[in-house]
Symmetry: C2
Subunit: 227 residues, 2 copies
C-alpha cells in the first residue's frame, strides 16, 4: 500500500542545504504493523510526514494505494489524507479553542458524518482512552498525557485504513500505554495498516516488523517472531 | 529546602470546582534526588508548577528555602524562580522566534551575565546535550527530541540549586536519555536538589527516593537502595 523509492528530503538554511533523508526505499503491504525506530534527529517524523501526505519529498517517488502522490494536486492530497489516513503527531497539534470532544469530532466533520452520530462516535473513542470525564476540557485544561490521548482518539475515530502514530505513548504510564496499544491491535486486526514511531522497545515489540533509521537512512529492516 | 503542607489545588470549570490536589504533604531536603511518578492525570505537573513558583495553591503552605512562598509578591517570586530554579516543562515552552542558542541564553540574560560569557556557556551546555550542530535552528527546525534537549540545556545553563524536570526524556532514545541523566547526576553531585517527573521506571531508578501520586494524593514515598 506504501511504496517509497529513493526519497530525499532537504531543508534550506540560509545559503546551505541540510539533507535529512538520504534516499529512503521502503515498502509496506496493506495490513502490516510496522515500528519505526532510530535516534533523536534521525528523520523519523520527517519520513512520517511524507508518508502521511503532510509534506513533499525533495526527490523520489511515493506511491500510496496505487496513486503517485507526488503527482496529486492539493485538493486530492487533502482528500486522500482525510479519508484513509489517521495521524498522531509527536506534539499532538490539537485545536486549542476546541474541547476534547470537538477535537475528536473533527475528522468526522470532514467525512460529513451527521452531528448526532459523530458526537456518539467521538464520545465512544474518548471513553476507550479513559477520557470519559474530560470531554468538555480544552487542551490547556488537560494533562500532557491526556492531550496525547485526545490526539490518539482523534486519529482512531474514523477507523483509518492507514494509521501513522508518531510517539503515541511518550507521555503515558505503562497501564495507559497498554490500553492505547490494545486499541491499535483492534484496528490492525480489522486488516488496517499501522506504522508507529517509538523510542521504546516494549512498544516496538507490538509490531511485526521493525525498521530502524540512522542519519536519514534505513539501517535495518527486520520482521520478528512475536511471542 | 522544600516544605509543602496540605497543598490543595482546584480549578473552576463553569459552575463546578475540580479538585486535582487533595492535601499534599511533602518535604524535600537540600541535595536530594527525588523521582515523582503516577498515572496520567494524577497531578504531577500541577504539583511541579506549584513547587517551581509558576502556580499558586488554592490552599496550604509552601515554604521554599525558608521563605513562605505564598506570601511573596510577584516580583520576588520571579526573582526566586530565576535565581535558583531550573524548570523543564513537559511541553518544552521554547520561544518560537529564537534559535536554540538564544533560548538557552535566556536564563543568563535574566541573571545579567555578560554577552560573551553567556554565549560561551550556552554553547557549552548545548554541546553537552549533543546539539552542537543545531544551535542556529529555531524550534520548528528541530526534531521533537532536539526541542526537548534545548529545554534541558536551558534548565541547566545557570546550574540551578533546584532542578525541576517534568518528563525530561519522553521523546528521547535510550542513549540520549542516559546522556541527560548523566548531566543531572553531575548537577546533583555538586549538592543541588533534583525532582524529576517520569513515567519510566528506568529513569526513576536514578533517583534515591520515589514519591508516587494517585488521584492528587501521595500514595507512597520510598527511599530505595541504589545499585
Ligand atoms: N486548567 C485546568 N482546568 C481544569 N482541569 C485541569 C486544568 N489543568 C489540569 N487539569 C486537570 O488536573 C489533573 C492533573 O493534571 P496534571 O497535568 O497535573 O497531571 P499529570 O499527573 O502531570 O499527568 P500526565 O502524566 O498526563 O502529564 C488532570 O486530570 C487535568 O485534567
Ligand atoms: N524545518 C527544518 N529546517 C531544518 N532542519 C530541520 C527542519 N525540520 C527538521 N529538521 C532537521 O531534520 C532532522 C530530522 O528531524 P526529525 O523530526 O525527522 O527527527 P526524528 O527522527 O523524528 O527525531 P526525534 O526522535 O527527536 O523526534 C533533525 O536533525 C532536524 O534538526
Ligand atoms: Mg520525531
Ligand atoms: Mg504532566
Amino acid at each position: 500500500v506504501i511504496s517509497l523509492k529513493n526519497i530525499i528530503k532537504e531543508y534550506k538554511l540560509g545559503k546551505e542545504k541540510l539533507r535529512v533523508l538520504h534516499g529512503i526505499d521502503l515498502e509496506v503491504q496493506a495490513g502490516e504493523f510496522v515500528a519505526l525506530m532510530g535516534p533523536s534527529g534521525s528523520g523519523k517524523s520527517t519520513l512520517m510526514n511524507i508518508i502521511g501526505c503532510l509534506d513533499i519529498p525533495s526527490a523520489g517517488d511515493y506511491i500510496l494505494q496505487d496513486q503517485n502522490v507526488s503527482k496529486l494536486k492539493d485538493d486530492d492530497l487533502a482528500k486522500v489524507r482525510n479519508e484513509s489516513i489517521g495521524f498522531i503527531f509527536q506534539n499532538f497539534n490539537l485545536m486549542p479553542k476546541m474541547t476534547a470532544l470537538e477535537n475528536v469530532e473533527l475528522p468526522l466533520v470532514y467525512a460529513s458524518v451527521p452531528k448526532k452520530e459523530r458526537k456518539r462516535r467521538a464520545q465512544e473513542v474518548l471513553e476507550s482512552v479513559g477520557l470519559g470525564d474530560r470531554m468538555t476540557h480544552k487542551p490547556n485544561e488537560l494533562s500532557g498525557g491526556q492531550r496525547q490521548r485526545v490526539a490518539v482518539a482523534r486519529s482512531l475515530v474514523n477507523q483509518p485504513s492507514l494509521l501513522l502514530a508518531d510517539e503515541p505513548t511518550g507521555n503515558l504510564d505503562t497501564t495507559t500505554s497498554d490500553e492505547i496499544m490494545r486499541l491499535f491491535h483492534q484496528l490492525h486486526e480489522k486488516g488496517n495498516t499501522i506504522i508507529v514511531v517509538t523510542h521504546e522497545e516494549a512498544i516496538a515489540q507490538h509490531a511485526k516488523r521493525i525498521v530502524r533509521l540512522i542519519d536519514g537512512r534505513v539501517s535495518s529492516d527486520v520482521v520478528h517472531e512475536q511471542t
